[in-house]
C-alpha cells in the first residue's frame, strides 16, 4: 500500500489502507505510539473540523499504551480523550485514566424485542410511546430524576449490578443477566471505593433515563443483512424493538470527577507529564489505579442495574398497552457498554482496554459471548440519530487483530449544540419527525433540537466503514417509530 499524505486538523495523516489512517509518532510531542483512525474520505472531512485528531494524538502519550491510540469512524471531539477512542495499556508502566472512560461510566445500550410486528402494533404505537414516557423518568438531577425504583439496596447494586434487583425486588430475569455484557457485573467492584457524594447523587436514580443524548426508542426491524445472526438474536423483519440508551447517572459522573481530581493531584508524584489535565491517570497497579478500577466497576454495575430497571418499566408499559402476555414475551436481545475500562486478554498480554464511546465487539466463538450467540458473534448496537436508523451488528475477527475487540458506538456528533440550535427549531423538528411517522415525547424543544439528525454523521457511513474494516458486520437495520428524550 502506497502512503498517501494529507493535512487534516493541522496534523499529517497517512493512509495505511482503505479504511485506516495513521498519525505518526512525533506529530504530538510525547507520543509513545501512533494514532490510528478508521474512516473513509467523507467521514474524515467531518472529523477534521474539530480537535478530535489532536486528542487522539494526546492519548498516545499515556504511559504504557500499546500498539496505537485508536479511533472509530464516529470519533468526535470530547474532553481529554476523543469520543470514539480506544486505548490499551499494559503493566508494569501502564496507566488507567478515568477520562478514558468518561463521566458517564458504562453508558450503553440495551435492546428489547417485542413478540409482534409493526403492523400488529398498529394504532397502539402512540399510546405505547406515551406510556413509556410516563413510566420512565427522564432528565438529570432535579425533578423527574428522583423517581428511581424504591427499595433498592445501593451497596448490593454496586457489588452485584442487576442481579441485586432480580434477587431483592424481582426486577428482570436470569435470561436478561445472561444476555448482558459481563453478565451485568464487574467483579472488581468495591462499594467502599465510591464516595458518599457519588452515592447521594445516584441513590434515587436507578431506573431513570438522564438527559443529553440519552433516549428510549421504539423501532421496527427494517432490513435483515445476516439471516443466521438475526435468527440467533430473535429478530425478524417488521418486528418491534425498544432501544434503551442510558448510563450510571449522577453516581458515575461523581466517581469520574473524584478520581480525575485525585489523580491530577498526584501526577507529579508518579512522574507523569500529560498534555491535558483531563487525561490524568495512575499506574494500573498503584493504590490509586486499583481504587479507581474498583469504583468504576461499581459504577458500571450500577449502570447495568439502571438499564435493567428501565427495561422493567418498559415491560410494565408494554403490559398496560399491549397486554401481560406480550410483556412476558418481550425478551432482552443484549446489553452492551460503550464507556468502560476492562482488563482483558489480547494475545499473550493482559491489557487495560479503555473504550470511550466505543463498543466491545468480540467475534464468533469468543468465550465471553453468551452460549446462545457464540457461533454468530457478540451483538453490538449502534444507535443512529433521531429520525434516521440504528443498526444491530456482530463482532468480527478483525476487531481482535486491529482494535482490541472494539467497534464504533453511534453516528458521532459533527455539529456543536450551539450551532445546531442556530439552524434547527425544536418545535419544527418535532413536527417533521411526527410527519415522518415518529411519535416524539421530549422534555424540551431545546434538547430535541440539540439532538437533531443533522448534528450527527451519517450512521450508514459509519457502519459501512467498520464492516469493511472487518471489525463488525451488519445484522439488521432498525428504523425509529417513536422516541422518548431526556
Amino acid at each position: 500500500m502506497s502512503l498517501v499524505w494529507c493535512s487534516m486538523s493541522e496534523l499529517a495523516l497517512r493512509q495505511l489502507d482503505n479504511e485506516l489512517w495513521e498519525i505518526p509518532i512525533g506529530s504530538v510531542p510525547g507520543m509513545r505510539v501512533p494514532g490510528r483512525l478508521f474512516a473513509d474520505a467523507e467521514l474524515l472531512a467531518a472529523i477534521e473540523r474539530d480537535h478530535s485528531l489532536e486528542q487522539l494524538g494526546n492519548v498516545a502519550t499515556l504511559p504504557g499504551i500499546v500498539e496505537a491510540s485508536l479511533a472509530m469512524p464516529d470519533i468526535h471531539q470530547g474532553y481529554g480523550f476523543p469520543v470514539g477512542g480506544v486505548a490499551a495499556t499494559e503493566e508494569p508502566d501502564g496507566v488507567v485514566s478515568p477520562g478514558g472512560v468518561g463521566y458517564d461510566i458504562n453508558c450503553g445500550v440495551r435492546l428489547l424485542a417485542l413478540p409482534l410486528d409493526v403492523d400488529a402494533l398498529g394504532a397502539r404505537r402512540e399510546p405505547l410511546v406515551h406510556e413509556l414516557s410516563r413510566r420512565v423518568p427522564v432528565g438529570a438531577g432535579g425533578r423527574g430524576a428522583r423517581e428511581g425504583v424504591a427499595g433498592a439496596d445501593l451497596a448490593r447494586v454496586l457489588s452485584l449490578g442487576p442481579r441485586a434487583l432480580l434477587e431483592d425486588l424481582g426486577i428482570g430475569t436470569e435470561a436478561d443477566l445472561e444476555l448482558t455484557e459481563s453478565g451485568g457485573r464487574l467483579p472488581e467492584a468495591d462499594p467502599a471505593a465510591v464516595s458518599a457524594r457519588a452515592r447521594e447523587r445516584g441513590a434515587s436514580q436507578i431506573g431513570t433515563l438522564g438527559s443529553g443524548n440519552h433516549f428510549l426508542e421504539l423501532q421496527a426491524v427494517e432490513r435483515i443483512y445476516d439471516a443466521a445472526a438475526a435468527a440467533a438474536f430473535g429478530l425478524e423483519p417488521g418486528q418491534v424493538t425498544v432501544l434503551i440508551h442510558s448510563g450510571s447517572r449522577g453516581l458515575g459522573h461523581q466517581v469520574c470527577t473524584d478520581f480525575v481530581k485525585r489523580m491530577d493531584a498526584k501526577l507529579a508524584g508518579y512522574g507523569i507529564r500529560l498534555p491535558d489535565r483531563q487525561l490524568s491517570c495512575a499506574p494500573i497497579g498503584s493504590p490509586d489505579g486499583q481504587a479507581y478500577l474498583a469504583a468504576m466497576a461499581a459504577a458500571a454495575n450500577f449502570a447495568w442495574a439502571n438499564r435493567a430497571a428501565i427495561a422493567d418499566r418498559v415491560r410494565h408499559g408494554v403490559a398496560r398497552v399491549l397486554g401481560v402476555a406480550t410483556a412476558r414475551e418481550t425478551r432482552q436481545v443484549y446489553d452492551v457498554a460503550h464507556n468502560v475500562a476492562k482488563l482483558e486478554e489480547h494475545g499473550a498480554r493482559r491489557l487495560c482496554v479503555h473504550r470511550k464511546g466505543a463498543t466491545r465487539a468480540f467475534p464468533p466463538r469468543h468465550p465471553e459471548i453468551p452460549a446462545a450467540y457464540r457461533e454468530v458473534g457478540q451483538p453490538v448496537f449502534i444507535p443512529g440519530s433521531m429520525g434516521t436508523a440504528s443498526y444491530v451488528l456482530t463482532g468480527r475477527e478483525g476487531s481482535m487483530r486491529r482494535s482490541f475487540g472494539t467497534t464504533c458506538h453511534g453516528a458521532g456528533r459533527r455539529q456543536s449544540r450551539t450551532a445546531v440550535r442556530k439552524s434547527v427549531d425544536g418545535a419544527a423538528l418535532r413536527r417533521q419527525l411526527e410527519a415522518d411517522g415518529i411519535v416524539v415525547r421530549a422534555v424540551s424543544s431545546r434538547g430535541l433540537a440539540e439532538e437533531a439528525p443533522q448534528a450527527y454523521k451519517d450512521v450508514d457511513n459509519v457502519v459501512a466503514v467498520v464492516e469493511r474494516a472487518g471489525l463488525a458486520a451488519r445484522v439488521a437495520r432498525l428504523r425509529p417509530i417513536g422516541v422518548v428524550k431526556g
Binding site: 468526535h76 438529570a140 438531577g141 464516595s195 470527577t257
Partner: protein
C-alpha cells in the same frame, strides 16, 4: 465578562475579568444563565448557601495544601454550584461574599430554590485555564453536558 465557545459535544466557558474574585462571580453568572436563570425558580423566596472549595476530602484525595491552583479552584467552584442545583434545586443568583485564599474559597451565595434544568453532568479539567491576561485574568472551563 463571559462567553460560550463552540465545542462539538460539550460547552466551553471563557471568562475575562479584572480580578480573581470577578472570575468566580462571572462563572456563577454564566452557570446561572446556562440553567435558565432565576426564572427556573419562579417566584420562590431568596435563600443563601455557603460554598466551600475544596469541600470535605473525598476518599483518599490529599488535602490541597498551600498549592495555588486557581484553575482547579474554579472547576471545584462550578462543581459545587452544579451539585447544589442537582441535589436541592438551588439556582445561584449572586455572590454575596467571597473569601479567596491561596488554597481555597469560602463564599456565601444568594439564590432561590426551584427546578433548574438538568444540563450539566460534570465540570472537566480539559483545557482548564486560569491565568493573568486580558483585562486582568482569563479563564476557560469545559462542561460535560
Amino acid at each position: 465578562m463571559y462567553r460560550w465557545a463552540e465545542h462539538t459535544a460539550e460547552v466551553e466557558l471563557q471568562i475575562e475579568a479584572h480580578s480573581e474574585r470577578e472570575v468566580f462571580a462571572d462563572a456563577l453568572a454564566a452557570l446561572t444563565d446556562l440553567l435558565g436563570g432565576p426564572r427556573a425558580a419562579g417566584d420562590a423566596a431568596p435563600v443563601r448557601r455557603t460554598v466551600t472549595v475544596p469541600p470535605e476530602p473525598v476518599l483518599d484525595c490529599p488535602p490541597a495544601g498551600p498549592r495555588r491552583d486557581r484553575a482547579a479552584l474554579l472547576a471545584g467552584w462550578l462543581e459545587e454550584l452544579v451539585f447544589l442545583g442537582e441535589s436541592e434545586g438551588f439556582v445561584a443568583t449572586g455572590l454575596a461574599d467571597a473569601d479567596l485564599r491561596p488554597d481555597g474559597l469560602s463564599a456565601t451565595v444568594e439564590g432561590v430554590l426551584g427546578a433548574p434544568p438538568p444540563l450539566v453532568k460534570a465540570v472537566t479539567l480539559h483545557g482548564l485555564m486560569f491565568e493573568p491576561g486580558g483585562p486582568g485574568y482569563v479563564a476557560r472551563v469545559v462542561l460535560d453536558v
